[in-house]
């Protein structure tokens, strides 16, 4: 069973909460360095340690990055208020987290996936990260630990939490959403977006419902997924767990669950039923943020081309649809593609080679050489096999396609030579030719295969087919 398939009659419902660490120089409310991997508790000060009497001062670069991300997600950037989220935890120095609640910096937005599906964005708010706990002894959780160590270097690192609407209904869309968000983060430079290092952390809210229903059933929040692939596995496991429960006249409980990568299952964490009441209220130590229209306009003005726009631009130039060129954009090869198109190459050929033959990079290949190669292939001067070989050479050592093809002995085969071969083949196989002329498509492969064998693959398949068709219509 493919992982995006649920049993007949069930629909998957996924909403994603993605925490993104902003790539600022300093933390959100103090001037400590925002650095990953330094010695524990070295990048700290009274403010990020929450010492009595310390006060926060908001990092303007963090706010700017958050607004850039918001605009990249099509969000409304609005006046916002920081709020305190109150709960006790040892790695949270103040025992409250400064976040945003009813007035986030970024309101409603949307993210379009490469296949054109649109995922709603509810909000993208700014908050501070917590420290990092290591629980020693027991099962690795705080409850059974002998003791716990806390590193506050991460405390106060700026985060944006991007909250999607629960309108993803396939695992592929959930994975594409995370991948697309990561590409946007990298394109805008607001985060290094490394899931494995935790600078991009995904929590998946998963539920299922009968196909055709619009209800939202009890969801479980899946944490601890460290890659897009793990997330896909976790969602699949969780959805099936829910369906099994419903099929047994039971139902899931609303809770946080942790993905256990090694065993391929989710296990229960804290139940949300007895979760803390966070007692949100406006953070009195900070002023509201009120970006001006000019600030927002300047952000839009400076916005780099985003994946969605790049897909559209390339698709239009290549005469294709955006989904066809998604991989090219994801690999950041759209610039090369556009240059090759501008140099006169056909879109389908350019995209085909980029996806199939240039996955590891274009090396020494210039856009002009690339365009020349695609044109030679299109004209029939090179077969697709020859073109692939020439392309590999151009990538490795550069040069011009005509020279490389000549050097490899890939002279364009004279059509008259081919005609002689085809006519000979027809004369030698009258029964097969008869079937071909009656329209038996299967026998076409026999003729093409024989010609290729005779020419050691140097013949252009397209030209061979044209010859066969013209002989059949005149016989």
């Amino acid at each position: 069973m493919s992982e995006s398939d649920l049993p007949e009659g069930w629909e998957l419902v996924v909403g994603l909460e993605v925490h993104v660490e902003l790539a600022t120089n300093t933390k959100l409310f103090c001037s400590c360095p925002n650095m990953f991997g330094d010695e524990a508790n070295t990048n700290v000060c009274p403010t990020c340690l929450g010492l009595p009497g310390s006060l926060p001062v908001v990092n303007e670069q963090a706010v700017h990055f958050a607004m850039v991300l918001g605009r990249a997600l099509g969000c409304t950037v609005q006046p916002s208020v920081f709020a305190r989220k109150n709960y006790f935890y040892p790695d949270m120095p103040k025992d409250y987290q400064v976040s945003q609640y009813d007035l986030p910096t970024n309101g409603e937005g949307a993210l379009e996936l490469p296949d054109g599906y649109v995922v709603g964005i509810e909000r993208a708010h700014i908050e501070e990260d917590t420290g990092k706990s290591t629980h020693v002894g027991g099962d690795g959780r705080i409850s059974g630990a002998d003791y716990s160590l806390v590193d506050y270097n991460r405390a106060g690192v700026p985060l944006v939490e991007v909250v999607s609407r629960p309108n993803m209904h396939t695992i592929e869309h959930a994975k594409a959403y995370v991948s697309e968000l990561r590409d946007i983060l990298l394109a805008t430079g607001v985060s290094d977006a490394k899931m494995e290092e935790g600078s991009m952390r995904v929590d998946a809210n998963v539920s299922v419902r009968p196909t055709g229903s619009t209800e939202l059933r009890t969801r479980c929040e899946i944490k601890n997924v460290n890659s897009i692939r793990s997330m896909g596995r976790a969602i699949d496991y969780e959805a099936h767990r829910h369906i099994d429960l419903y099929n047994n006249n039971d139902a899931p409980r609303q809770e946080t669950r942790h993905w256990d990568e090694a065993n391929g299952r989710t296990r229960p964490g804290r139940s949300k039923e007895d979760a803390d009441d966070y007692r949100y209220f406006a953070e009195p130590d900070l002023l509201p943020l009120d970006p001006t229209a000019a600030e927002i306009a300047a952000i839009d003005e400076a916005m780099p081309a985003l994946p969605q726009q790049r897909r559209r631009a390339l698709a239009e130039a290549a005469g294709l649809v955006p989904a066809d060129v998604a991989l090219v954009v994801e690999r950041n090869q759209d610039e090369l593609a556009l240059a090759a198109l501008a140099a006169g190459a056909g879109g389908a050929g350019v995209v085909k080679h980029l996806i199939n033959n240039l996955a590891d990079g274009a090396g020494q290949l210039t856009p002009e050489a690339f365009a020349g190669l695609v044109s030679m292939e299109t004209r029939g001067d090179l077969s697709s096999t020859q073109a692939k070989t020439v392309l590999a050479e151009l990538v490795a050592n550069g040069g011009q396609p005509a020279d490389v093809a000549a050097g490899l002995g890939f002279e364009a085969m004279d059509t008259s030579e081919l005609e002689i071969l085809v006519d000979g083949l027809i004369a030698d196989n009258p029964d097969e030719w008869g079937r071909f002329c009656e329209g038996d498509k299967k026998i076409q492969g026999f003729f093409v295969g024989q010609i290729m064998k005779a020419t050691k693959g140097q013949a252009d398949g397209k030209v061979v087919n044209q010859l066969l068709a013209s002989r059949a219509s005149s016989s």
């Binding site: 929450g50 009497g53 006060l55 926060p56 006790f88 949100y280």
Partner: protein, 490 residues
């Protein structure tokens, strides 16, 4: 018996004498330390006296002056800080067991600014635990006594800072005022106390009680001294996001301008028409102050601030709500007290149970409840709306008046134990001072005569936000008129 100092040297006198070489900082410091030596064991104004350090700093300052250096406008002035203001390497306790022994690794902005102005820190003063109280009886380290009468409270929560000035231990001190914690003890101890505009003085390094209400201000013997100290500690601080982005206003130059033509509004609700429990002698002194101002050329009229009646109710939701969050960090994990427990939750609980006193626990519970899901709108939300209404009413009043006038405290200093059994009776001490914290406007208490019990009475001068100059101008006149009235009575 009284340990209140007679004819004290003012901060201005000390600074001028030290800077000019008429005396030196060491001599001044010895005089003040001698008074501490004589009666501090009875008064208990301090949690910590830094006698050796203060002498060393005085010597160092004298050396700098001898070298021709200008050491600042508070040259050699002995000062004290309420023990909820951080001092690097010096224990800062908030008069709580939970912070006992904790030494901050940094200075509050006000501590740095005073030191840079030549003032010398003598000690950290006692307070109601985490500034929650009106008598200093909630200190975990025992109460401070009123220097005018050791059987009476000094007020609170900044009782130690008020008593330290009244007893002549220091020439000036700083307190923090969340609902009256500077002005009420100033009134009860017979000194000047100022609650500046919210944001006028940096809160960086002030251990928070209720962040949207807390404000640091001075205690001094005179209005002029308070003006000078405010000039030193006020002005923008980039470390406090709520700090007003302006320099401190010039205050010392406005003090002799009189009140001719100024419009003074006497707040009806606080003069026996709306708020109950203001004692007759306090009302009488306030009326006398108003009459004296009128005689001095001010236009005095009555003004109504109806929402002020609900100030107390609003305050006891907003302040505990913020406190419940601000005090969460005292969990035994990083600093201060830690009581063992079988797991982290039990450790947190044991630490907070042992470390906090009853009043602090009462307010944490009240505030936690007020912020709870389902109650937020009815309590915290409504209390915040009352603040907006109150600020509007004050603004309307200030269309017609330059300053407002009222009693500071409903009564003079009361005896120990009088109000400890009934939290509501204690809370009522702040009924006239709380509205200014809720609105964010400045207000100050100036001594004006004595009550029937012979204890000091203070009157409160209120002004619009950032209008400290006119507030000090009127306060200076009240101070002159009080001296005249005292002279006439003798």
């Amino acid at each position: 018996m009284s340990h209140a100092v007679d004819n004290p040297s003012t901060a201005i006198e000390i600074a001028q004498a030290v800077a000019s070489g008429a005396t030196n900082a060491s001599t001044v410091m010895d005089e003040h330390l001698a008074r501490i030596e004589a009666s501090e064991t009875e008064v208990h104004a301090f949690n910590l006296v830094l006698a050796d350090q203060a002498r060393q700093h005085a010597d160092a300052l004298d050396a700098r002056i001898a070298a021709g250096e200008d050491v600042g406008p508070l040259a050699g002035v002995p000062i004290a800080l309420k023990d909820n203001m951080c001092t690097r390497g010096i224990a800062t306790t908030c008069s709580s067991r939970i912070l006992e022994g904790w030494e901050p690794p940094y200075n509050a902005t006000v501590a740095d600014r005073l030191a840079n102005a030549g003032a010398i820190l003598v000690g950290k003063t006692n307070l109601d635990e985490f500034a929650m109280g009106s008598s200093t009886e909630n200190s975990a380290f025992g109460p401070t006594k009123n220097p005018h009468d050791l059987s009476r409270v000094p007020g609170g929560s900044s009782g130690g800072s008020a008593a330290a000035v009244a007893a002549g231990y220091v020439a000036a001190s700083l307190g923090s005022d969340t609902g009256g914690s500077i002005r009420q003890p100033a009134a009860l101890c017979g000194v000047v106390g100022v609650k500046p505009t919210y944001g006028a003085v940096s809160r960086y390094g002030l251990i928070a009680f209720a962040s949207s209400l807390d404000q640091i201000g001075p205690f001094t013997h005179t209005v002029a001294d308070a003006a000078l100290v405010h000039e030193v500690i006020g002005g923008h601080d980039p470390l406090d996001s709520t700090s007003i982005p302006q320099p401190a206003p010039a205050l010392t130059e406005v003090l002799d301008r009189g009140v001719d033509g100024l419009r003074v509004g006497l707040i009806d609700e606080m003069m026996g028409h709306g708020i109950d429990g203001i004692s007759a002698d306090v009302l009488a002194r306030t009326n006398e102050a108003a009459e004296a101002l009128a005689a001095a050329g001010a236009k005095v009229d009555r003004v109504s601030i109806p929402a002020s009646i609900y100030g107390l109710s609003s305050y006891y939701l907003v302040a505990p709500a913020e406190a419940s969050s601000n005090l969460s960090r005292y969990d035994g994990v990083r600093y201060g007290l830690r009581e063992d427990g079988a797991n982290v939750v039990e450790m947190n609980t044991a630490t907070r149970t042992a470390g906090f006193g009853d009043e602090v626990k009462r307010r944490i519970m009240l505030g936690t409840y007020a912020l709870s899901a389902g109650y937020y709108d009815a309590y915290y939300g409504k209390a915040q709306r009352l603040r907006t209404l109150l600020a509007q009413e004050f603004n309307e009043a200030y269309q017609r008046f330059d300053v407002l006038l009222s009693p500071t405290s409903p009564c003079t200093a009361f005896a120990f134990g009088d109000k400890t059994a009934d939290p509501m009776a204690m809370y009522l001490n702040d009924v006239c001072t709380i509205p200014s914290n809720l609105s964010g406007d400045p207000a100050m208490s100036v001594p004006f005569g004595i009550g029937d019990d012979g204890m000091p009475v203070g009157v409160q001068v209120l002004a619009p936000a950032t209008h400290e100059p006119v507030m000090f101008q009127v306060a200076a006149e009240v101070e002159r008129l009080a001296a005249e009235a005292k002279g006439a009575a003798q």
